[in-house]
């Protein structure tokens, strides 16, 4: 029997917040990703199916969906690894508003990146001087460990605290803030600590590690958030967080 004789039963979420699963039969292939399955459905069975992707090679972070209950990057998730009894259930990411079918509105996710002050703020040193950053320094290593985030939202979807508390900044934004905090050239590092330690920021994290468990590029937001907790506690004790 060739592999194409066999089919997968695929349930796909249709609608927005309200909707239902629709079942499709998709030919099973060797080396098939979940994104291939969704693309097959859109090209051959229902052109109205809405979903998102761009790079197809795990770089852009736009193809994430909930697959058999777990948030995943679908372009790098092989069906053979996640299929259960010939069945796949594919839904949009949780913890984000659904626009349609498998497409979520990432606005709250990125607003929180902004609120966690994850961007570079120049200091007031002379513009023509390069700031030395030692590759072996503690700060540079900490920033390197956190920096490869692809903004995919998997951790945000996996985090229980995000689902309990709408205001919680979430693992990705805080991980980004930790990378930014460890950039010794930043002109206002205390400003980052202020941004992440007020309201539902780093101290809201319960260290469940769901984010770390699911991050497709093996980042460790829990570690980054723990770093922010320590740094902001220290700054607070020194009276630097007024």
């Amino acid at each position: 029997m060739t592999s194409s004789d066999r089919t997968l039963k695929v349930d796909i979420w249709r609608g927005n917040e309200k909707g239902e699963y629709q079942s499709f039969e998709v030919p099973e292939r060797e080396n098939q990703t979940v994104l291939d399955v969704v693309t097959y459905i859109q090209r051959h069975l229902d052109p109205a199916l809405a979903y998102r992707f761009a790079c197809r090679v795990g770089v852009c972070g736009s193809c994430t969906m909930t697959v058999n209950g777990r948030p995943r990057w679908t372009c790098r998730t092989h069906v053979s690894r996640v299929v259960k009894g010939g069945k796949l259930t594919i839904a949009p990411l949780t913890n984000l508003p659904v626009i349609r079918d498998l497409v979520t509105d990432m606005t709250p996710f990125f607003e929180k990146w902004r609120d966690a002050r994850g961007r570079f703020v120049a200091g007031d040193g002379p513009k023509d001087e390069l700031a030395p950053v030692q590759p072996e320094s503690r700060e540079r290593s900490a920033a390197s460990a956190a920096i490869e985030c692809i903004n995919c939202g998997v951790c945000y979807s996996a985090c229980d605290v995000v689902s309990w508390n709408d205001d919680y900044l979430g693992p990705a934004a805080l991980n980004r803030a930790w990378a930014a905090y460890n950039d010794v050239r930043d002109g206002d590092r205390n400003g980052i600590l202020k941004a992440v330690s007020q309201g539902a920021g780093c101290h809201t994290c319960h260290s469940h590690q769901s984010c770390t468990e699911h991050c497709p590029v093996s980042l460790n937001p829990t570690f980054s958030i723990a770093g922010l907790k320590r740094a902001s506690l220290k700054a607070k004790l020194k009276g630097a967080l007024k």
Binding site: G69, A91, V98, H206, S207, H208, E213, N220, T222, R230
Partner: protein
């Protein structure tokens, strides 16, 4: 129908189970410790205390007490684990640490049970 029906599969990992056990053991302690201290308070009144002691000699009570002791131990160890994550940055090999916490809790509970009978 809602989307999140089966999404809870994302919780099936040691960190979440540990957090759940930590919450539940904490809740059990919060409910039962006041009762425990109430009983201790009875020690001032000899007859009432004797009554409480003979009540607590029943096997079922002893087993529940051991469970409470296990809850206390697992809550204590789990709390140290979270402190280690947050203050020492110890986020690697957490399944092993979680297993150690559970083993510690179970061990203390069993020891207590053995001494109770």
């Amino acid at each position: 129908m809602s989307i999140s029906g089966i999404t809870r599969a994302s919780r099936a990992h040691p960190g979440f189970v540990a957090a759940l056990v930590h919450r539940l053991s904490g809740l059990a302690l919060a409910i039962f410790l006041p009762l425990h201290f109430l009983t201790l308070g009875l020690a001032l009144d000899e007859t009432a205390f004797a009554g409480a002691i003979s009540w607590s000699n029943q096997p079922l009570v002893k087993i529940s007490e051991s469970l409470l002791v296990a809850a206390l131990a697992v809550h204590f160890a789990g709390g140290l684990r979270v402190l280690a994550i947050e203050f020492l940055g110890l986020t690697r090999a957490q399944s092993a640490w979680i297993a150690c916490c559970f083993a510690f809790g179970a061990g203390i509970g069993i020891l207590f049970l053995m001494r109770a009978f």
